[in-house]
């Protein structure tokens, strides 16, 4: 049996289907990513799995315990880092950690080997109020607090939102370290580029799961040819490309636009067409799809 098993779980808030018949499972020691924008149902799923709310229909288990009937036991086993900063800003780093240890009836020393690699980075600031920490440090403290009772499953809801790129990268390194200790993790993020750090990902949108696979597996589902095109004037380029024959879709993608090519697409002809339109520095080259390209394609279905 997998650590987390979700079977056709649904949750509705008034007219909004926050979660619509979602099914997935996460194995022991897996780092599983829920990738999707706001409103995809990620937070609702976390709240269901951490037993904070009850489902309308469907079932789920965490460590074999039913989320409705076994919720007290689940609460002892899981660690949870909610989307918002969930520490006491007026307490110091150390006071926060001690309080969370007390919350689970344990002591900081009991989990020191697990927490130390993370906590050591913020220990020099242990007498600083948590509210005065930088985004990256807050995150490390929150993770330390979530680990204090040696949970076997960790739920992390958008832990990297609002944090700079260096801290985000460090954070994913820490999660990799926890994975090595056999902790099962479910992490959500709205950022596609973080998907690469997960073992498997689920692409979610509007309460539904669009696809579940390894990051490489997801990318391999992209079954069209993809080109990257750039030119001096990106806006004119976009309009000129969209109307060209054989272009299924064209959308901005960083410093280029991506072209999803149809069967009769001819790159050389497009190049000529764009130059004839007066565009300068036109470059067209085949490129590898990313998770974001797949996401866009799945959303359009």
């Amino acid at each position: 049996m997998d650590v987390i098993e979700i079977n056709r779980l649904s949750k509705r808030y008034g007219q909004v289907r926050a979660l619509d018949e979602v099914s997935l499972s996460v194995g022991r020691g897996e780092l599983f990513g829920l990738i999707g924008p706001d409103g995809a149902g990620k937070t609702t799923l976390f709240r269901l799995l951490t037993t904070l709310i009850s489902p309308d229909s469907g079932a789920a288990t965490v460590e074999g315990l039913d989320i409705v009937h076994g919720y007290r036991r689940i609460r002892e086993l899981v660690g949870y880092m909610p989307g918002r900063f969930s520490l006491y800003p007026d307490l110091t780093v150390e006071e926060n950690l001690n309080f969370f240890a007390a919350l689970f009836g344990t002591h900081v020393q009991d989990a020191y080997d697990l927490v130390a690699p993370i906590y050591r980075q913020i220990e020099p600031f242990k007498n600083r109020r948590a509210g005065k920490l930088s985004g990256g440090m807050k995150q490390k403290l929150a993770l330390s607090c979530a680990l204090i009772h040696r949970p076997s499953v960790l739920f992390l809801d958008e832990p990297t939102t609002g944090v700079d790129a260096v801290s985000r990268s460090e954070f994913w390194d820490m999660l990799a370290g926890l994975k090595a200790k056999d902790i099962t993790m479910l992490v959500s993020t709205p950022y596609m580029d973080e998907a690469q750090r997960c073992d498997r990902i689920a692409l979610c949108n509007e309460g539904r799961i669009l696809g579940i696979d390894t990051p490489a597996g997801i990318v391999s589902r992209f079954d069209s040819r993809l080109y990257a095109v750039s030119a001096g004037n990106m806006f004119t380029l976009l309009q000129a490309t969209r109307t060209f024959e054989g272009v299924d879709a064209c959308y901005p993608f960083g410093s280029t636009h991506h072209i999803v090519a149809g069967g009769n697409f001819d790159a050389a002809a497009l190049d000529g067409h764009l130059k004839a339109d007066g565009l300068q520095d036109v470059r067209i080259a085949p490129c590898m799809p990313t998770i974001e390209d797949v996401f866009i394609k799945l959303m359009q279905r």
Partner: protein
């Protein structure tokens, strides 16, 4: 010689002993999409406040939309637009009420307000939603609307603070199309963000660390310079040595 929208030299802001922004200098050209990146606590917010006329620099010189950053904060505010992810529009007002409110803030004539409103709503395909409460719109729509309203008074420069956080990839692209269109019209777009894939959309980006601008170039040139294939790599190399953490 390209026309500049923002031109600052040695701009500095001190709070007591603490130098939040340390002699930054750069030019942003008219119609350019400029990315303004930095680690947490690098001084991005302070720098942006000075550029928006919300706070006066301690020393240095510069102009924003042709006005002196040292003296003409009020004039600057009138000639720029601003949109942040945190505050954009009033949820309890309808689309049209929000438009009228911001038109009033920027002193648009009733005629111009009507004309701009129709223009804006038809471009977004929003005409049918003009009496809908903004709170009832999906996040992506809100952000597109917020951007359009930030440019309602045809500002010379529009400042965007992490504009596309949390929206789905399709809406996000529609958002960037709006930005491209606006830039194509000659509006300068100044974007701050934590997200490096957002930086890739910019013509040029600057990266702030510990109050200083450490790098400024096109994303392609920066990637070449730091021998990496992503802006993420560039940023991490530059910001890794940051001493300051808020």
């Amino acid at each position: 010689m390209k026309e500049t929208a923002i031109s600052i030299r040695e701009l500095t802001k001190r709070f007591g002993d603490f130098t939040a922004v340390d002699r930054i200098s750069f030019d942003v050209y008219k119609g350019e999409i400029f990315g303004f990146l930095g680690a947490n606590g690098a001084g991005k917010t302070t720098a942006m406040r000075m550029l928006c006329g919300l706070s006066f620099p301690t020393s240095g010189s510069g102009t924003v939309a042709g006005f002196d950053v040292m003296r003409e904060g009020e004039m600057i505010k009138r000639h720029i637009g601003y949109m942040s992810q945190r505050f954009s529009l009033y949820d309890d007002l309808t689309v049209m009420e929000n438009i009228r409110l911001f038109a009033g803030i920027y002193n648009l004539t009733p005629y111009r307000t009507r004309r701009r409103a129709v223009e804006l709503l038809s471009r977004l395909n929003f005409l049918g939603e003009r009496h809908t409460l903004v709170g009832a719109l999906p996040l992506g729509w809100k952000q597109k609307l917020a951007f359009s309203i930030a440019t309602l008074h045809s500002p010379e420069i529009v400042f965007l603070d992490e504009p596309t956080g949390g929206v789905d990839p399709i809406t996000r692209r529609q958002f960037w199309e709006l930005i491209y269109e606006e830039a194509n019209r000659g509006t300068t777009v100044f974007v701050t963000t934590h997200y490096m894939d957002e930086a890739e959309y910019c013509a040029r980006v600057s990266i702030m660390v510990d109050g200083e601008v450490r790098a400024l170039d096109t994303p392609a040139a920066l990637k070449r310079q730091f021998a990496t294939d992503s802006m993420d790599g560039v940023f991490r190399t530059i910001a890794r040595g940051a001493k300051r953490a808020e």
